[in-house]
Symmetry: C2
Subunit: 324 residues, 2 copies
Amino acid sequence: MNIDMIEAAAQRLSGHARQTPLLSSPFLDDIAGRRVLIKPECLQHTGSFKFRGGWSAVSALAPDLRARGVIAFSSGNHAQGVAYAAKLHGVPAVIIMPSDAPKLKIDNTRALGAEVVLYDRAGQDRDALGAQLSAERGLTLIKPFDEPQVIAGQGTTGLEIATQAAALGVTEADVLVCCGGGGLTSGIALALEAKAPGLRTRPCEPAGFDDVKRSLESGKIERNAQLSGSICDAIITPQPGDLTFPIMQRLCGPGLIVTEDDCLRAMALAFLRLKIVIEPGGAVALAAALFYPEQITGDAVIAVASGGNVDPAMFITALQTHAI
Amino acid sequence: MNIDMIEAAAQRLSGHARQTPLLSSPFLDDIAGRRVLIKPECLQHTGSFKFRGGWSAVSALAPDLRARGVIAFSSGNHAQGVAYAAKLHGVPAVIIMPSDAPKLKIDNTRALGAEVVLYDRAGQDRDALGAQLSAERGLTLIKPFDEPQVIAGQGTTGLEIATQAAALGVTEADVLVCCGGGGLTSGIALALEAKAPGLRTRPCEPAGFDDVKRSLESGKIERNAQLSGSICDAIITPQPGDLTFPIMQRLCGPGLIVTEDDCLRAMALAFLRLKIVIEPGGAVALAAALFYPEQITGDAVIAVASGGNVDPAMFITALQTHAI
């Protein structure tokens, strides 16, 4: 993994992925006690940064391999990102989802052109099913984060942050990133190392799912005790990736932890002050920027709002709790 | 009014107003039956396009005049746009609001640095109060739409649409604009006349407040029978402006009318598919693009989402009615 791969991904994404703006509000600056810049990847195609990695991976395949199609395991943002990237390339996508996944997510992934294959969590081996389908059809597996071209695609977010922050005069700041497996975090860290060395990447996680923070502290990969039960489901993974962890270890500052209620409050403030929709897992970094200022250094902070695929009922809860 | 004034305004706004992206979703394309591009001015500073006109007007003043400050009558988006533009210029702003304006709007306008002067709708003459304050302090009145530098500022939205649509290969399309007094609509129409003559501007209004549509049909300025009672309060004005109407008459296609329920549905779809927050008045053009396809020509349509300053309770209503 290096900056050349991220710049090559940026070339392939040009004109296909959306260049999201940097947003701000004087009201959020007041809360945080410093200038806050928000990178709203919720405005990316399919509502999250995952489209970048999906496009990067699909576009990097050799044409004959790509024509056979791709496969991914996901019930969330990665599924939609890969499905839409494949559709726009005109190649098949198979997404393997548990049969108890929310119907809306299944329908959305199908509507983005993918073939959804459901499996029974209790009775079926997901990986075996995927291996069988891949072998039969010659599909290429696109992993959600521990995959060089996926990391390169997510890293294009960091290239944009470097350019946009410099244009606003911000060259020294913490860059807070919602962190699951570390694909987005490590990609951004690599991009900033090369393009904006005064910007320091810091992973942000919900309390109880702080595997990356603990891994950075202990110097080895740590696991989460639990894998479900968080409203921040979009960024819950068992542990940091084998590829992403060494990058984060080399480049990232200490992790930041927020509560679920912090996320709901950040969602309400993003609604009121930025007019964007973010999901709980996509609000973790903004929550850290706003509510934990003593853990951040510098006159400015940059927070990535990584996704906006939130159920209306959850969004209503955030507004009723913190905006009314 | 001409394109040179709009391009001069764009120069003054450069680095101060936000260049909003063009958004899209395959789900919205399916509903509309054609490609839909959305210009989300809800992401502009202060949550609406009004910041453009405010900045344009304040920045166009001679320095000694500007230093004395500006004054505006508004309880809505114009108030916030002018207040923040003045604050960023470091000059005073006085905003005259009715004493029964929502407390949140008063507080927001004050927080943006303005001095809010309240008047009693029943017992006080608003214009006399404004004239007195202007005379005493040398404040310059910034009218909400019938003012050349305000129209020029709003027209910068059209310059961006011309460039961004061309980059996506769209050179022939209807451009639907949420229309109150016509500042945004006429500014965009002038910009597109010069920069993208295949793009035709069309004003969009809520049913019962269709003064611009009727004025375009009759060839003279028509008034609304009522001036309140719409959830689209941000774009309700008595009649088109003396400056804006001749421009719209020369350049705009027929008006489009939507219902309040159409607006709530468009708000819910913008939440689900674009991850942006729009207010009822800011959803009128998107609603027309999605739900009245038979009144639109061409393979693509562009809709301006003009603002996002919506009360949480109203937004919850939109989600509960159309997203759950």
